[in-house]
């Protein structure tokens, strides 16, 4: 009997404690994030939709059609169309397609990009009614100047130097390992491909042409205006 009373007392106490907890909880501010109204605070390195940067200062497109992102992509969701410009003998970007339906947002493409052109933005609202609509072309991918400068600042990427300076930064490393002699001699006559790393470009269909890495400062200053489609 006394055991029964003790148990009854104990259980009533427990129920009252539970009620008290609930009552105290009802005075707390809700933890709900009202998502569509208030965006969650995303870190700058959040891996959202892929996009292509332009130079925040000059508004020139940063992509150099090196196809490294296309090669590194595990899903093979990047498709780059480029052609060789007859005047300058340099690769010119025609179209850049990313199938976001295939993309798994691993961010490998952004890591290999030599010019910090392709980046993960903080945008993640890409729902659409068809799979075809998830394939973004260059028009949808390229950011505006303002957005680019925002992401350059947020991700703390060093601002790209004007076009001539950029290949210079990579040129001393790359050609020096590969063929420093050739680059000097066959700089202008042979077609120039603005590739950062010669080791990878060798695997392309035309090894003879790609070997001839030519990125002297002089050639690039000439072709700067033609090489970039700024959209």
């Amino acid at each position: 009997m006394s055991n029964l009373l003790t148990r009854a007392k104990d259980s009533i106490y427990q129920v009252l404690r539970g009620l008290k907890t609930v009552a105290v909880h009802s005075l707390r501010i809700p933890t709900t994030k009202e998502y569509p109204d208030t965006m969650p605070p995303l870190p700058p390195h959040f891996r959202g939709r892929l996009a292509l940067n332009v130079n925040p200062e000059t508004n020139e497109h940063l992509c150099i059609s090196c196809r490294q992102c296309e090669r590194v992509c595990p899903d093979k969701c990047i498709e780059i169309t480029a052609h060789k410009s007859p005047e300058t003998n340099k690769l010119e970007l025609i179209d850049f397609k990313i199938d976001h339906g295939l993309c798994m947002f691993c961010g490998l493409c952004t890591e290999v990009c030599p010019t910090d052109c392709i980046i993960n933005t903080n945008d993640f609202e890409m729902a659409d009614y068809s799979r075809e609509a998830l394939v973004y072309d260059i028009r949808k991918l390229t950011l505006t100047q303002g957005e680019s400068s925002h992401y350059f600042a947020a991700k703390e990427i060093a601002l790209p130097k004007p076009k001539p300076a950029k290949p210079v930064a990579s040129a001393p490393i790359a050609p020096s390992i590969a063929k420093p002699v050739e680059t000097k001699t066959e700089a202008k006559p042979v077609e120039t491909k603005t590739e950062a790393k010669p080791a990878e470009t060798k695997t392309e269909t035309k090894p003879a042409e790609t070997k001839t890495e030519a990125k002297p400062a002089e050639t690039d200053t000439d072709t700067k205006s033609t090489d970039n489609e700024s959209k």
């Binding site: 129920v15 539970g18 009620l19 609930v22 909880h25 009802s26």
Partner: protein, 467 residues
């Protein structure tokens, strides 16, 4: 001050808006059917048929009131439950449809009504259709006698008053379990069947303490008539049945005399509690008060089990049976199950209010109000002025009846407080196991209710509650 004051304010606002909506529409419907239509009919033509029609209109008023009340009230209670649970679990709850989520449940109701009505293969179509009706109709229309007590025995609702009101309500409210078992059986689904059978077991076990605790109150008031039970609790919370069912009447009267400086205060005390056997009297009063408080909580517990609220929601335990007896139901039949469940919760709360919490009576003793506001003259003056201003509405159009109005206001406050308490319990307690449920019902509640009943019988013999 409070961290969550914004949410609490929204919750209060939502409650007030919906309550105004519910009782405004019920009031309007009652006025039209009970007063306006008969008056117009009588004025239009003065023959016997029209007089008969007018009378029929008046007799239909309680039914119309119930029919208007049930759907709106169910919507409101679902919303309060969801918002209340959100409050308790530190969430926000539905706040998208309409201003601040006010119309969420209205939208849900419309959606449910337009959904496809599926009868599963192998189901017994006839019983399957009958089950929601049997679940819905008896308990809700059986509760009509409550209307007389809720409205303070208004003329229009006086016909609903039965001499054996509470007996009739209890009898009617034990029918729905047949509907649940029927639905579970007819669904041709294991989960539904188990849910239905559990419901039967539960309802049978918990009806006994429920009825015994109500019988205790009926015994104390020597009446089965809800209006009479309600009217015996007038004059402050000391007269409520939850505090001894009249055992403290003498105390109430004594305090009244004391505060007013009346000379016969001690005589009153003597008349109620004879001093020649004061030890016995004190024991009896204490026994009565404790017993009735226990009876109240026993009633609440058993009522929760009767209407399948959460600590006892085994018939529709989502984690074990998909949704219990209503797994296979969709569309309007499911809506009826849903409606009946929430209306039943309201009905058991209002029974608790009428039987234990003084029905529509003011909880603050009248003498206390008089004493506190003795020197504040402007409040009675304002009330008088308002009454004067509204007198054409009261006396000529019969739009407002002050007695009914205050009675309903207090009923609303008390009943929805109990509903809110049920939501609070839902946010607090986990579900019983079926063996714990049976154990608690048969080995704890039934002996306790019998004990309370006997204590009340003996204690009532000692003190005189009927001076």
């Amino acid at each position: 001050m409070l961290a969550n004051s914004a949410e609490l304010f929204k919750f209060t606002r939502l409650t007030l808006i919906w309550l105004t909506l519910i009782f405004g529409s019920v009031w309007g419907a009652c006025f039209i059917v009970g007063v306006l239509l008969p008056t117009l009919l009588l004025r239009a033509c003065d023959n016997e048929i029209f007089a008969l029609l007018a009378q029929i209109c008046q007799y239909l008023t309680p039914l119309i009131a119930i029919l208007v009340f049930i759907p709106i009230n169910a919507m409101f209670m679902v919303l309060v439950e969801r918002r209340g649970l959100a409050l308790f679990t530190v969430r926000m709850g539905p706040n998208r449809v309409g201003p601040d989520g006010l119309l969420q449940t209205a939208a849900d109701a419309v959606k449910l009504l337009f959904k496809e009505d599926i009868i599963p293969t192998g189901a017994d179509a006839w019983l399957f259709t009958l089950a929601p009706i049997i679940f819905f109709a008896p308990s809700i229309f059986g509760s009509i006698p409550l209307l007389a007590a809720i409205t303070g025995n208004n003329d229009l609702f006086a016909i609903t008053n039965l001499p054996t009101g509470i007996f009739f309500i209890i009898a009617a409210s034990s029918v729905p379990v047949v509907g649940i078992v029927m639905g579970g059986w007819a669904s041709n689904n294991k989960y539904s069947l188990v849910g239905g059978l559990r419901s039967a077991a539960q309802a049978i076990s918990y009806e006994i303490p429920l009825v015994l605790s109500l019988v205790t109150i009926c015994y104390l008031n020597q009446s089965l008539n809800v209006v009479e039970i309600a009217s015996r609790q007038t004059g402050g919370f000391l007269n409520w049945n939850i505090f001894g069912g009249g055992a403290l009447n003498g105390l109430d009267k004594y305090l009244n005399a004391l505060i007013n400086g009346s000379s016969n205060a001690n005589d009153i005390l003597q008349a109620y509690y004879p001093s020649n056997q004061w030890i016995l009297t004190v024991i009896a009063i204490a026994g009565l008060v404790v017993s009735t408080i226990i009876a109240f909580f026993m009633y609440i517990t058993a009522a929760c089990a009767e209407v399948n609220r959460i600590p006892f929601d085994l018939p529709e335990a989502e984690s074990e049976l998909v949704s219990g007896y209503n797994t296979e139901y969709s569309g309007i039949k499911f809506a009826i199950f849903f409606l009946a469940e929430f209306t039943n919760l309201f009905i058991v709360s209002s029974i608790a209010t009428i039987m234990f919490l003084g029905a529509g009576n003011n909880p603050i003793p009248q003498f206390l109000i008089d004493y506190l506001f003795k020197n504040v003259t402007f409040i009675p003056q304002t009330i008088n002025a308002i009454t004067q201003a509204l007198s054409p509405l009261i006396n000529q159009i019969h739009l407002i009846n002050p007695i009914t109005f205050w009675s309903v206001v207090w009923m609303i406050v008390k009943t929805y407080s109990l509903v809110f308490f049920a939501v609070l319990v839902r946010g607090t307690l986990p579900r019983f196991k079926i063996d714990q449920l049976m154990d608690f019902g048969w080995k704890r509640l039934i002996p306790l209710s019998l004990l309370v009943f006997f204590i009340v019988i003996f204690a009532k013999g000692v003190i005189n509650t009927n001076v």
